[in-house]
């Protein structure tokens, strides 16, 4: 019966919406994302050139902040979702009511979906609109559509971390343990895996061709224009082929990192942002939305499957578990 799940969800939602934890994360996100649009727009001014799509430039900057905040939001909502109730003894009081164990998990998930959806949508829209006003850029309908897609995948990313952290929380007796494990996994996916990936790249391919880097740096200044005059086509080709192989290795190593898949999607969506390698592919033009969605289909699937797997696992662990 979903009635009980909704009763639990309603209480949970009120608790979360009024919690300091949520407002802290949302506040930090707004601050960082708006501040970082300044630093990108500043580097443009130094470069003396306008971006191909200023709006996409702003959005991609916000997306790179989101790549950190969305997982933290998910973890913040989930790490003590079950273990906290267990620690405080409220789980016993809940489970002594005429409800099913599923109702407790369902209530938590419903509330989390609402909170994550609301927080990410509102804070993204807020930071995008503030940035638009501050930098006075024009917005097209296509931009709006891209931002909506970005919001959807950010919610999925956050929810993926929620699901993972909930899973840990279901069998953990201590919220501190489940927090440490969840943050550990986040650090692994967000930082360590990309470091490992660059080590492996260098081990397999050798260091990147030095002249190619110089070429790259020269071309980078003229944003979006790889064919700088005076650079031999062969060197450019050497550089590009190194980058392609590096991206391949990275995609294999990071196949299980949802952060990587998320970044792949937002990168294609907004065209600019550097991948986790620091010198990932830079597409000069922005692909159309259908092209983005179809070329990034694998990333999208992984991003969606990940939370489903952990939700199912959470169900299995929690409903099988016995509580004295």
């Amino acid at each position: 019966m979903m009635k009980n799940a909704f009763s639990i969800a309603r209480k949970e939602f009120t608790d979360t919406i009024t919690s300091k934890r949520l407002w802290l994360i949302a506040g930090i996100f707004l601050l960082f994302s708006i501040a970082s649009t300044y630093s990108t727009s500043f580097s443009f001014m130094i470069g003396g050139q306008q971006a191909v799509r200023p709006m996409a430039q702003i959005a991609s900057t916000i997306a790179s902040t989101m790549a950190y905040m969305a997982p933290l939001l998910g973890i913040a909502l989930a790490f003590d979702a079950i273990s906290g109730e267990r620690e405080r003894g409220t789980l016993r009081i809940l489970l002594s009511r005429p409800i099913y164990r599923e109702d407790v998990v369902n209530g938590k998930i419903i509330s989390a979906l609402a909170v994550i959806g609301l927080t990410i949508a509102v804070s993204s829209l807020a930071s995008v609109s503030v940035s638009i006003l501050l930098h006075k850029v024009a917005v097209t309908l296509d931009d709006v559509a891209r931002i909506c897609i970005f919001i959807v995948f950010s919610i999925v990313l956050s929810f993926a971390y929620y699901a993972f952290s909930l899973f840990i929380s279901t069998f953990s007796n201590k919220s501190s343990h489940s927090l440490i494990i969840s943050i550990g996994i986040w650090i692994f996916f967000a930082f360590i895996l990309s470091i490992i990936s660059s080590f492996v790249t260098i081990a397999v391919l050798g260091p990147p061709p030095t002249r190619a880097i110089a070429v790259f740096n020269r071309t980078r200044r003229g944003f979006g224009n790889f064919t700088s005059p005076g650079v031999p086509a062969s060197e450019l080709e050497e550089y590009l082929s190194y980058m392609r192989k590096a991206a391949e290795i990275s995609s294999i190593i990071q196949a299980f990192s949802i952060n990587y898949h998320y970044t792949q999607i937002t990168d294609s969506l907004f065209g600019f942002a550097a991948g986790p390698l620091g010198f990932g592919q830079r597409e000069r033009t922005i692909a159309s939305i259908p092209t983005v969605l179809s070329t990034r289909l694998i990333d999208i699937i992984v991003l969606i499957v990940f939370p489903i797997v952990f939700l199912v696992a959470s169900y299995m662990v929690f409903t099988k578990r016995q509580e004295k």
Partner: protein
């Protein structure tokens, strides 16, 4: 006699391999309807495990339990609809008030929305917390939390109440109020089962009791039956109070056939006898010279310590 709770060969094993603990070892327990049933046992004897199985929080390793006619493994939701439980080690939502906590729990109990607040307030009143209804639980003392715990078990006005160590942390006055509450509910025809490791608590309110040790029920039955069987083994004891300053001749009592031992201190004479000799003692003290010297004659019931020791040593 119809039963509120009945378990059959209930076994619960925690863990496996070397760390295996047999918390319940073939428990056959019968709790009659409209009784106050005390489950007495020392720490770690399996009380909480047994209670948790009854309401479906834990699954038995083998055996079965029926509560109010429902199977505890298959229909635990139906059981929880009818049973008010005070679990061990429970907690409340500290950031919410006592009333908010109870109305939320009343929602999950399936109490219609227009009655939740009324029921919650009534439960708070019953446990003496009505004037703290709007205070946050974080401001509550341990004893107040325990009272709130009792209140949440009363919300749905259940026909069976199961309390796991209800009086821990409650002051003597509160404990006395709790015992009155239990008696009152029992008069209304409700069944109350409570676990305790305090022997005197069993004696004070229970009509029935069971002693559990290391996962085994050593004995169960009505309190009278338990007294009786201990008396049969250990003898019957009577106390004669003599008027201050006077003494009674003891030869006649000593010559009665089943008397084992007579002890005398101040104005008290204690007689231990193999058999029930209440009526013969009574007719004795109504004769002279006793009738002018004796103030009272009372049978001394075995203390719960004695009963417990008796059954612990194997009955």
């Amino acid at each position: 006699m119809s039963l509120a709770i009945e378990t059959e060969k209930l076994v619960k094993i925690y863990g496996n391999g070397k760390s295996m603990v047999k918390a319940l070892n073939s428990i056959d327990m019968k709790v009659p309807k409209a009784s106050v049933f005390g489950l007495f046992g020392p720490n770690g004897s399996g009380k909480t495990t047994l209670i948790s199985i009854l309401v479906g929080l834990l699954l038995p390793t083998s055996g079965s339990a029926r509560v109010l006619g429902f199977d505890a493994t298959k229909h635990s939701v139906e059981i929880r609809r009818r049973v008010g439980l005070l679990p061990e080690g429970f907690g409340f939502y500290d950031h919410m008030t006592a009333l908010e906590n109870l109305t939320f729990l009343a929602t999950l109990d399936g109490i219609p929305s227009d009655q939740r607040k009324k029921r919650a307030l009534r439960a708070l009143e019953t446990v003496g917390l009505k004037d703290r209804a709007d205070a946050k639980v974080s401001t509550f003392s341990r004893g107040m939390r325990q009272r709130l715990g009792i209140a949440q078990a009363l919300l749905k006005d259940p026909e069976l109440l199961i309390f796991d160590e209800p009086t821990v942390g409650i002051d003597p006055e509160g404990a006395a109020e709790f015992r009155n509450l239990v008696r009152r509910m029992n008069r209304e025809g409700k069944t109350v089962m409570l676990s305790t490791h305090l022997l005197y608590e069993v004696g004070m309110i229970c009509t029935h009791a069971a002693i559990i040790r290391e996962g085994r029920l050593l004995v169960q039955g009505s309190v009278d039956e338990l007294y009786q069987s201990v008396r049969k083994e250990k003898g019957f004891r009577y106390e004669i109070r003599v008027k201050p300053g006077s003494e009674i001749p003891l030869q006649e009592i000593r010559s009665m056939p089943s008397v084992v031992e007579i002890t005398q201190s101040d104005n008290r004479v204690t007689i231990l006898s193999k058999n029930d000799m209440g009526s013969s003692l009574f007719s004795l003290i109504t004769k002279s010279p006793y009738k002018d010297l004796v103030e009272s004659l009372t049978p001394v019931e075995p203390s719960w310590e004695e009963i417990y020791r008796f059954y612990q040593e194997g009955g």
